[in-house]
Structure formats: structure tokens, C-alpha cells
């Protein structure tokens, strides 16, 4: 017979659930509000979401303080793990979401914002990501991931035009396949270790001295494929450009930041110990994957004719760049990953918001897609401020100092150099040069070509105060990043180091 289990409530650390619960409660309350009164304006929901996210962020930051004092906290039968990575990840997730949610306040009306459910799903998704990063249990990761993904598919589709459906279906189908990979990979790991907590898997494997190397590698292959999909590594990246193109710029920007950081954190948890285990295979594979991802996506980005697709490929390339940090696997590189992503977040937020600002409902005559390059022709002459902003974000993405991303970039490359990956560092540097080409392409269009007559009044068509504010925040974040780098670096290093990475 089974004994009844006695668990003291204190040992559960129910508080560790608080951040995710806040998001879930937020989502539920939005549903309730809608139930009580229909047809409320979207700004209400935006603000409610913002409020809950703010609370969420506050709690996470509070956990950050606790972490710095006491170290990692386990909760709910060790299911929740609040270590540095989890906290950093959640901060980026929540803060990123907070910056993206006001993008719903456009001056044009789009279908999805008419649904209160949209905001509920958004919050559910955030909760999903939060669960995903705040655990090292594969089940939790899987369920969190699926919660978030399912919500995300719906969010994409809610834009309600055929491209967005197409994007959602593609994303969904490939996501289902990736879920299969993940499940199968986890199964094999479970088969050889009998554990589904990553640290236990690690310790069992270490104790066995990787005796079942074949199993491990097959499992890693499956997991790599699964996370390759999530992080859009070549050749699992194919969804990225289509999905970005099909969804709104706001959501595309969001997707380039938040889901990825969640993926990176899990990837870090999963692959870090493997990289350090001395399994050469993984290092080689990751090395190749990183290089191929960076290079191939850069090359494809060059030939794009739509800015959003270009940015999609660019974000693949950035992901590849950051994946290198996982390959390098030192404290410095992991720190660099977070630093990079935080800075990348600001810049990409700005870039995609600028696209969002310029979104019109129907294509103009001669325009080939929503954000075709030619739309930006001669922008400096018609909308100088917009052109300068966009140019700024492009420069930052290209890694031109002193704008935000540059600092992330040198720190990543520096970590590669210190990690002994000098050639990789060189490849990364040269890839930045490749990347500069397509960022420059937009700059060339904006600053060096003549405006197309009739396009000018359509540029800022979707702008509103809140969008402009977000652009402003992104711009400030991008320009003055240098001020923030030092404190960020200090904090992140503390978090990462104390989490044992």
C-alpha cells in the first residue's frame, strides 16, 4: 500500500509559481472582463495586460534579489527551478512582452485586436514561456513549450488574412513535427538515464561516463532537431521567413525575441553539460550548425526583396551567432548570450516597430509585398525622422558601434576568443560583414534613392502615440546602450555564474 504523502507547504515554495500565476490570472481576468462586458476597446486590454506583466516583472525581479542572496530556489516538488537563467530569461521574456504589447494600439484597426481573447492568449503564452525556462524537467519544458506555441499559432492566425493563416498552418505543422522530435529525444534520454530532469540526466550520464554513447548522440540529434526548429537553425529554419512574413510586424518582432530566448535557455541547460562532457561530436556538430546557420541565412537575407523577410533571415543569423555562445560554453559566453539578446531585443523591437508603423492595409500599385524595399525609397526626403530611426536600427543590427548590438557582438566574439575558438570568432566577424550588406541595402533605399511618387503619405499610416513611444524607447535603448552595458554585464555575470553556467 502506498503511504499518504506528507508534504509541508513551506517546502513546496509555492511562491515560485507566483510569476506564472500572475500571467495566468491576468489572462483569466481578461476573459472575465470580456464576459462581463463585450466590445470594450483594445486599449483597456493592453493596459490590463501591461499591468499584470508589470506585476509579473516585479515578482521576477524580486526573485532575482533573493537569488543573489540565497542562490537558486526549487519549488513545487523540484518542478520549478528559479535559478539565474530562469530569472534572467523571465525578465527578458516579460520585459520584452511589455514592450511589444503596446504595439496593439495602432491607429489602423486590425482583426486580432478586436478579440479580448487575443490578449488572454498572449498572457497564456507568456506563462508558457515562463514555465519553460523556470524548470529543468523535460515534461515541464515540453508542456510549457506547447502551451506557448499553441497560443502563438492562434495569435498569428488571428490576423485574419490568407498569408497569416498560411503562416500559422506552416508553423503549426512544423511545430508538431518538432514536438515529435522533442518527445522522441526525451524518450531516449529517459531510456538510458531513467531521468527526465536535466541535471539528473547529466549526473547519470557522467557517472556512466557516457557509456551509451550511441543513444546519447541519437537523443541529442533529436533534441537538436527540435531546438533547431525553435531557434531556427539551418535547415530547420524554413518556417521563419514565411511565418514572419505572414504575421504582423509586431508579432514577428516579438517572435524574433521572446520565444527564442526561452529556447536558448533550454538549449543552454540541455547542451551545456554535453558540450563540457567532452563529446567531441556535439562540439563539431554545433560548430558546423552555428557556422552554417549564420552564413547561409546571411546569404539568403541578401537576396530578399521584402524588409520583413530580410529581417527574418537576419534574426536567424543572429540566433546562429548566439548559438555560438552555447557552443563555447564558458561563463563569459553565456553571459554574452544574455547581454546580446537583451540588446538585440531593443534593436529588433525598434526595427519591427518601424515596419509596423509603416504597415498599410492594401498594397500600393507597384508594391510587391507589405514591406517591400521600394516602399522605403527616399524615405530620408519624405520622412527624415523615420528614416533616421530605421537607419539607426539597421546600423545597430549590423553591429556598427556604438549602437546597442555592437556591445553584445564584441562580447560574444570576445568570449569565443577567450574560449579558444579563434577561428569561430573570425567567422563570426566576417559574417557580420556579410550581414552588413543587407542592412545596408535598406539604408541605401532609404537614404540614397529617390522617393516613389505616391508612396510618401502611406508611410506613417499606422503610427500612433504608443507606437512612436516604443520606437523612442527602442532608439534610446539602442543609442545609449553603452551606458547600460556595464551594469548589465555585472548583473548577468552574477546570475549566470551563480547558476553554475
Amino acid at each position: 500500500m502506498l503511504e499518504p504523502i506528507n508534504v509541508s507547504l513551506a517546502s513546496l515554495n509555492i511562491a515560485t509559481l507566483a510569476p506564472m500565476l500572475i500571467a495566468i490570472v491576468g489572462a483569466l481576468s481578461i476573459l472575465c472582463i470580456d464576459m462581463l462586458k463585450e466590445g470594450l476597446h483594445k486599449s483597456l486590454y493592453v493596459m490590463v495586460s501591461l499591468l499584470f506583466l508589470l506585476l509579473d516583472l516585479g515578482v521576477v525581479i524580486d526573485f532575482g534579489n533573493t537569488f543573489l542572496k540565497n542562490g537558486p530556489v526549487l519549488g513545487m516538488f523540484d518542478m520549478i527551478l528559479m535559478d539565474g537563467l530562469a530569472i534572467m530569461g523571465q525578465i527578458i521574456i516579460v520585459a520584452g512582452s511589455m514592450l511589444f504589447i503596446p504595439l496593439a494600439l495602432t491607429s489602423k484597426r486590425f482583426h486580432e485586436y478586436n478579440y479580448p481573447e487575443y490578449f488572454a492568449l498572449f498572457l497564456f503564452m507568456i506563462a508558457g514561456f515562463q514555465f519553460m525556462v523556470a524548470t529543468d524537467n523535460l515534461i515541464m519544458i515540453f508542456v510549457g513549450l506547447e502551451t506557448a506555441s499553441l497560443a502563438l499559432y492562434a495569435l498569428i492566425a488571428l490576423h485574419n488574412r490568407s498569408k497569416s493563416f498560411e503562416a500559422a498552418v506552416k508553423y503549426f505543422t512544423m511545430g508538431a513535427l518538432a514536438a515529435g522530435f522533442f518527445a522522441f529525444g526525451s524518450m531516449i534520454l529517459y531510456a538510458i538515464t531513467g531521468a527526465i530532469e536535466i541535471n539528473q540526466i547529466a549526473s547519470v550520464l557522467a557517472a556512466d561516463r557516457y557509456a551509451d554513447i550511441g543513444y546519447v548522440l541519437v537523443a541529442v540529434s533529436f533534441l537538436l532537431a527540435a531546438f533547431g526548429f525553435k531557434l531556427s537553425m539551418v535547415p530547420f529554419h524554413t518556417w521563419t521567413p514565411d511565418v514572419y512574413e505572414g504575421s504582423t510586424a509586431a508579432l514577428a518582432g516579438y517572435m524574433s525575441i521572446v520565444p527564442k530566448i526561452a529556447g536558448f535557455i533550454v538549449a543552454m541547460r540541455l547542451f551545456e553539460f554535453l558540450v563540457h562532457s567532452g563529446v567531441v561530436w556535439l562540439q563539431v556538430i554545433l560548430y558546423v550548425a552555428v557556422v552554417v546557420t549564420m552564413t547561409a541565412s546571411n546569404i539568403w537575407a541578401m537576396v530578399q526583396t521584402d524588409v520583413k523577410r530580410m529581417l527574418a533571415y537576419s534574426s536567424i543569423s543572429h540566433a546562429g551567432f548566439v548559438m555560438a555562445a552555447i557552443l563555447i560554453g564558458t561563463t563569459q559566453s553565456n553571459t554574452a548570450l544574455f547581454l546580446y539578446w537583451a540588446l538585440f531585443g531593443f534593436t529588433n523591437l525598434g526595427a519591427f516597430t518601424m515596419l509596423w508603423v509603416s504597415r498599410q492595409k492594401n498594397l500600393l500599385p507597384g508594391q510587391s509585398s507589405d514591406h517591400a524595399f521600394e516602399k522605403f525609397s527616399g524615405l530620408i526626403k519624405t520622412m527624415p525622422m523615420a528614416a533616421i530611426m530605421m537607419g539607426l536600427f539597421m546600423l545597430s543590427l549590423a553591429g556598427i558601434p556604438p549602437f546597442g548590438l555592437f556591445w553584445g557582438k564584441i562580447y560574444v566574439i570576445a568570449s569565443a576568443v577567450s574560449g579558444g575558438y579563434t577561428v569561430l570568432a573570425l567567422i563570426m566577424a566576417l559574417n557580420s560583414a556579410l550581414a552588413a550588406y543587407y542592412y545596408l541595402k535598406l539604408i541605401v533605399y532609404m537614404f540614397m534613392k529617390e522617393p516613389i511618387v505616391g508612396y510618401e503619405k502611406h508611410y506613417l499610416t499606422n503610427a500612433s502615440l504608443s507606437l512612436k513611444t516604443i520606437v523612442g524607447i527602442a532608439a534610446i535603448g539602442t543609442i545609449f546602450a553603452v551606458v547600460a552595458v556595464n551594469p548589465l554585464l555585472n548583473v548577468i555575470t552574477l546570475f549566470v555564474y551563480n547558476s553554475g553556467y
Partner: protein, 101 residues
């Protein structure tokens, strides 16, 4: 002859491969979704078997959650298919190529 864990795992792997073939082969989205179900089911056999041979419940838990996930996916997937179908009248994925390059 004794049936070992390996037997189950091989079965699981074979079923997974069948699922992969289905995923690659199917052009009808609904049929494609069938194939993704096969993938997950293949995994479930593996989990249950491992749980059995390791004498550990965790595997069964995993399989349980996978079933839940599969069910959710069906709901969302069908929802997506419905809107797509309403818009285009088809669920053949070959017509879904408005975005490329």
C-alpha cells in the same frame, strides 16, 4: 524468447519513421496531422516500455502529458484548418505557397 526493452524501442522507432514518411508524404493537411499523431504515439510506446522495464512511473507520466499535448494540438490544428478551408475551400498544402524565397 523474451521481449526486451529494445524490442519496444525498435517498434517505437519504426513507428516514428512511418510517421516521418507520412509527414513528408501527405499533402492533405488533415492526413498530415494524422501522421503527426503517429509520431507522438510512437514515442508513447517507448515511454511506456521504458517505464515498465525501469520500473519507474515517470515514463508513464511523460506519455500521459504527451497525450494531452496531442489532444490540444488537434484542437488548434483543426481550428486553423477550418479558417483556412473557409477562406480557400481546400486543405491541400500545395496551394499554400504565397510566401517563398
Amino acid at each position: 524468447m523474451e521481449i526486451t526493452l529494445a524490442h519496444y524501442l525498435v517498434l517505437s522507432g519504426v513507428l516514428f519513421a512511418i510517421g516521418l514518411i507520412g509527414v513528408m508524404r501527405r499533402k492533405n493537411l488533415l492526413m498530415l496531422f494524422f501522421a503527426t499523431e503517429i509520431l507522438l504515439n510512437a514515442t508513447n510506446i517507448g515511454f511506456a516500455a521504458i517505464a515498465h522495464f525501469h520500473n519507474d512511473l515517470t515514463g508513464q507520466m511523460f506519455a500521459f502529458f504527451i497525450i494531452a499535448i496531442a489532444a490540444s494540438e488537434v484542437a488548434v490544428g483543426l481550428g486553423l484548418l477550418i479558417v483556412w478551408y473557409k477562406r480557400t475551400g481546400k486543405i491541400d498544402l500545395d496551394i499554400m505557397t504565397s510566401m517563398r524565397g
